[in-house]
């Protein structure tokens, strides 16, 4: 059974610009997917539809066979999907740990404050943020470090799906491989569905399935 199904998804921005046209695709559990395509194809737009931040103009997105437009989107975002935004969307005045704990708070994770902190520390260590950096404000961290905090945050409440928008765009090869390993582990050992938007050959060579959005998108290119 597919965890995600895109059925005839169409989307256009308010200015009338058509971005997605009649997209059909399926995503399964225990697999890593790479969404590829040139810049401006609509990859970020598609992720925001899948994360319930926006709704398709027509067509349906099914999560476990349910139309997500009929969900409580806040609950869906805070429990079912972990999102790594292209622009991270971390709170700059909070520390890395605080950002991760906040996400657990919002998800309503039943752990004590101490346990949450502990868990956040472990997750951050896993993505390569050591204890010293973990207590620094996001403002003081580099782009690559922020990106890794965003990944840790997306994993913090153990969602079934991780939607990551170019999560390794700011990372060097070593760190990129480390993240790929983490994702692989999540998909293959913990039966999660990992969907990564990426330009990196290194990433797409390591995934189970490549979803080339450009091919599926039937936008007339003469625009």
């Amino acid at each position: 059974m597919s965890i995600f199904k895109l059925e005839n998804v169409c989307y256009s921005y308010e200015d009338g610009k058509e971005v997605l046209n009649n997209i059909n695709y399926k995503f399964d559990k225990s697999k890593i997917y790479a969404i590829t395509g040139r810049s401006g194809t609509g990859k970020t737009t598609l992720l925001s539809l899948m994360s319930g931040l926006d709704k398709p103009k027509s067509g349906k997105i099914l999560y476990e066979e349910n139309d997500i437009s009929k969900f409580d989107n806040d609950n869906y975002r805070s429990h079912n999907v972990g999102i790594v935004f292209q622009s991270f969307n971390l709170l700059p005045h909070l520390s890395a740990i605080e950002n991760v704990v906040l996400s657990m708070d919002v998800a309503g994770i039943k752990l004590s404050e101490k346990e949450k902190q502990q868990r956040a520390k472990l997750l951050l260590e896993e993505v390569g943020i050591n204890n010293e950096k973990a207590n620094k404000r996001i403002l003081k961290l580099s782009g690559g470090e922020q990106q890794r905090v965003a990944i840790a945050r997306a994993m913090s409440y153990d969602p079934e799906v991780i939607l990551a928008d170019e999560p390794t765009g700011n990372l060097d090869k070593h760190n990129e491989e480390q993240i790929i390993d983490i994702f692989k582990n999540l998909a293959h050992k913990k039966n999660k569905c990992i969907i990564i938007v990426t330009h990196s050959k290194n990433v797409s060579n390591n995934v189970d399935e490549i979803f080339d959005l450009e091919k599926y998108n039937k936008i007339s290119k003469n625009k």
């Binding site: 931040l53 926006d54 999102i83 935004f85 969307n89 709170l91 906040l102």
Partner: protein, 496 residues
């Protein structure tokens, strides 16, 4: 719970902005605290002043109407003005009882007054005893309800007043008169008992227990023996150049005793005594004044009379404090409006700064109402602390400020009074024998209510809390609108 934790964290994190908001709310709450406590205490004071000062009504001649009616009757019936005046119905005790039986009247009492001579007392006066009595200054009071110019009857040496009730003896209640020896007469009895002034007693070497003999000035054969049961001193201000008090030649007795004499004098038109009747009606409250007036008209009070009350005097005394209350209320409204505007503006700046934060919180799945709650908690804590600080400072400032303001209101009231006096080209003496029911209220001087004990009470505190809630809502209104309107994606996309 994490919402509260976040809120507290945010307050300490964004110190400078919260200090700014805090200062504004402190200023607003100082102003509100001072204004509210002044307003509430003046209202209380007005309330208690009104409840401790009864509304008193009197029936007096309406000279305007009287003149008109006199002219009319001269034209129509060719009656002379003095004839007309003789025919004007005098107030009598039956009328007063009739008027007093009213649902609007709490209590009423009356006095009757006549003039008698005495065979064993001589008048306390510095004037020549042999001076003919009709050269005396005409007694103004006789114009009111008394016989006045009615006939050429001889006026007596002594003013004898009969009281229906101890309440009618206001000089004693107020302390203008004080019994020095003996006691007051039995108010309900018709026994011939009386109290006389110290001056009169000294002049004639009368002691408590002595008898005095009063004589009908129209017929010396009519004599009445009164027992002096008490002697009083008069502490009122003396305006004439004299060694005697104003009331030196007054003899006070009960209504029943004097009425007995009067009734007997009516047997013969020769001996008929002049009688002046005055009444005071204590009304339930100021709202029934008009009803009482129209009731009197329907009960037959002629248009020659009018009902006057002490309402104006009471209102006048309260004027400074009422002005203060109005001023302070206006001030409060202005402060609140300006405060609200400032807070809204800050709220807008706040939202611009925190837009991204809202977007992030929403994008990780925090519900709208929780984000909102967090913002409101932040502002509530800031305003709560500020209001407490403001209230403490305000309560320290309230008493000096309220007294200073009240003082200036009284000054300006006095200045305008002086202005009136200047218009007359004279200094208006505050002539008054206060409480004397034979006086018009109009000449009573103004005793401004000049002490305001402005303290913070429960009502003020509740109102301050109310203002605090409103201010918090106002200052968070912008965030509320923003948070409930925009989707997280829109907020994040519009990031600049």
């Amino acid at each position: 719970m994490y919402i509260l934790k976040n809120a507290i964290k945010n307050i300490t994190r964004t110190k400078s902005r919260n200090i700014l908001i805090g200062i504004i709310i402190v200023v607003i709450s100082i102003a509100s605290c001072v204004a509210l406590s002044i307003k509430n205490s003046s209202e209380k004071l007005i309330e208690s002043y009104k409840s401790s000062n009864e509304i008193e009504a009197e029936i007096t001649l309406n000279r305007e109407n009287l003149k008109g009616n006199a002219r009319n009757s001269k034209q129509q019936n060719n009656t002379s003005i003095s004839e007309f005046m003789n025919n004007v119905q005098r107030l009598n005790v039956d009328d007063i009882n009739k008027y007093g039986q009213s649902e609007y009247v709490k209590d009423y009492y009356y006095t009757i007054e006549t003039e008698l001579n005495s065979s064993n007392l001589s008048k306390a006066t510095i004037e020549d005893e042999n001076e003919p009595p009709d050269l005396k200054m005409p007694n103004m009071n006789n114009m009111k309800g008394g016989n006045g110019t009615q006939n050429n009857k001889v006026l007596g040496d002594f003013k004898v007043i009969g009281y229906s009730s101890l309440n009618a003896m206001e000089e004693f209640e107020e302390g203008t008169y004080k019994i020095e020896e003996g006691s007051i007469f039995d108010i309900n009895s018709d026994e011939k008992q009386c109290v006389i002034s110290q001056d009169l007693a000294d002049e004639n070497s009368v002691k408590v227990g002595d008898n005095i003999i009063l004589v009908n000035p129209n017929n010396e054969a009519f004599t009445y023996e009164f027992k002096v049961v008490g002697i009083y001193s008069d502490f009122s201000k003396i305006e004439e150049f004299t060694i005697f008090s104003n009331s030196a030649n007054q003899i006070l007795t009960s209504y029943n005793a004097l009425n007995d004499i009067y009734s007997k004098s009516l047997e013969n038109s020769e001996t008929n005594l002049n009688l002046e009747t005055n009444a005071k009606f204590i009304l339930n409250n100021e709202d029934v004044i008009e009803s009482f007036k129209s009731e009197l008209t329907s009960k037959g009070l002629s248009s020659n009379y009018t009902v006057t009350t002490n309402l104006e005097t009471l209102e006048n005394n309260l004027k400074p404090i009422k002005n203060l209350s109005t001023f302070v209320t206006t001030f409060l409204i202005i402060v609140l409006i300006i405060g609200a505007i400032v807070l809204v503006v800050i709220g807008m700046i706040n939202i611009r700064e925190r837009k991204y934060e809202i977007g992030v919180l929403r994008s990780i799945g925090m519900k709208r109402y929780k984000v909102l709650l967090q913002f409101i908690i932040e502002l509530t804590i800031v305003s709560f602390v500020s209001i407490i600080v403001g209230t403490i400072i305000g309560s320290l400032l309230t008493v000096p400020i309220s007294n200073a303001l009240l003082k200036s209101e009284i000054e300006s009231a006095k200045t305008s009074q002086t202005q009136v006096n200047n218009n007359f080209g004279m200094e208006m003496p505050n002539k008054m024998e206060k409480g004397d029911i034979r006086n018009n209220f109009a000449i009573e001087s103004t005793n401004y209510v000049d002490k305001l004990n402005a303290v913070i009470d429960i009502k003020t505190i509740l109102e301050l809390i109310g203002i605090g809630v409103v201010l918090t809502l106002v200052s968070s209104s912008i965030s509320m609108i923003f948070i409930s309107r925009y989707s997280p994606l829109k907020i994040l996309n519009s990031r600049t």
